[in-house]
Symmetry: C2
Subunit: 280 residues, 2 copies
């Protein structure tokens, strides 16, 4: 069995009720998503404060350390303990983080809907990433994924104002679904879950409700995932980075519609579906 | 006349065309928003890299320095020069930024749809902020604002995937409208424009297409603006901070609908409109 660090299981309450007045002055109670600080301490040293929904704080912490490339292997992590009484998570590592001062000093404030800050240098490794050329996504699998998301129970449906990310198998089975107030937290949490399971991204499909910005594309690539789907659009940098690393980007995925932006050879158009769509 | 630093006027091309395939395999050309790095140098020292649409880079830089409280007065800024050939902006100050190392070392990675990273300590000053109790927003003015945004020319309508922020006078006149790939950039750019004009926020109304997270509420409060409107929702921290500082938050503002969340006494419900709405 794969190594697994010692983890707390500190999922928090995810919504809060507040009283509002509508346009006719009528009072009602609505749910809004929780948002709480989680300060990450690595070997008792304060690293960063993440603002999070709080649904998967251990996976978020692990994925953050992974995606920021601060910890290279899960084996280096001894334990991850979340304590909501003090809004903190204590990470114990085997060997510490080398050059932590230097590696966290360069700030890039990114565009993402969400977490947004990456410590510098993420782009540095981008050109080394190779995504599998042979991976294919069938149009019908894509539609299945969009439909799974549409019908999935979510905080978004209850309270709005969160972003969701999901990981699917090549056959379109839902593996993970994580929501957070910041979409980058949701991505990081999925990276953390994949790390814990020793899961490879090469035969997976990643879905996000958020925009396909450069940071999202880079994070997807770091996880080795060739397909990135969104119900939103993309930006110039997201498009450019995806083209450069050969990732397949699909934007505006809703119902039977989508826009295939890059890595177009990986999508298998289904002629029979095209026929159906012609009369839709 | 008020002091004004020397500024470049380096607005960039805001969209790019890319070829896409739709669900029937048909090729077409769509516009996507530009996204480019802008590295801020203050007195030749690298401070941060902002990912931006590039429409108002000088105002963005000024607003960033203002909202991060790195520069307290516009008088301290000698010049702001953007050079897209090197994706950089050079800021010259009169006296430098005191304790810049220390003041930019604490990271809070926030939830915002957009820029997202604030240097720590933003919350520290929150309790000192006083917003004008007597300010009022009439329901009909609110509807006028929502309608102005709806009909305004925008990159969003052309290319999607950007957030917009706008500043309105108490009578509902549009003063500024800024879009950016990160909504925090759009807020910061408006803060920069207000700074340049010596404009007070006490009798203004702020509109954003993005969610009302804690960071948005804090930035609005720093500009002294009592009203924050959004077509999106809010989060627990956004709601909590707004309640604490007495800001009026209005979420889900579309058409004739809205949800009044906090600072409820400042909204003037119009009985005649309520009557119209009853039959709408």
């Amino acid at each position: 069995m794969a190594y697994r660090p010692e983890l707390s299981a500190a999922s928090a309450v995810l919504t809060r009720e507040v009283e509002v007045l509508d346009e006719r002055g009528r009072a009602s109670i609505i749910a809004i998503p929780a948002e709480r600080p989680l300060t990450v301490y690595v070997d008792k040293r304060e690293l960063v404060t993440l603002m999070t929904l709080g649904g998967a704080p251990e996976a978020l912490t692990l994925g953050y350390l992974r995606n920021q490339r601060l910890v290279r292997s899960l084996d280096d992590i001894v334990s991850v303990h979340v304590d909501w009484d003090v809004d903190a998570v204590a990470v114990k590592t085997r060997h510490g983080i080398a050059d932590v001062e230097e590696r966290t000093s360069k700030k890039v404030v990114t565009t993402g809907c969400g977490q947004g800050s990456v410590f510098g240098g993420l782009m540095d490794d981008v050109d080394k990433i190779r995504l599998p050329d042979a991976a294919r996504l069938h149009q019908s699998t894509l539609y299945g994924i969009v439909d799974t998301i549409r019908t999935h129970q979510s905080i978004y449906k209850q309270a709005g104002s969160v972003h969701g990310c999901a990981l699917f198998s090549a056959r379109g089975e839902l593996l993970y679904f994580v929501e957070d107030v910041g979409r980058h937290n949701a991505v990081d949490a999925i990276a953390g879950l994949m790390w814990l399971e020793g899961m490879d991204g090469a035969d997976k499909i990643f879905y996000t409700t958020g925009r396909l910005t450069s940071e999202m594309v880079i994070k997807g690539a770091q996880m080795g995932i060739p397909f990135l789907l969104s119900r939103s659009g993309t930006t110039q940098m997201g498009h450019m980075v995806a083209e450069r690393i050969g990732m397949t980007l699909l934007a505006r995925c809703t119902g039977k519609h989508f826009l295939l932006l890059t890595g177009k050879e990986r999508l298998v158009f289904a002629p029979e579906l095209a026929e159906v769509l012609r009369y839709a």
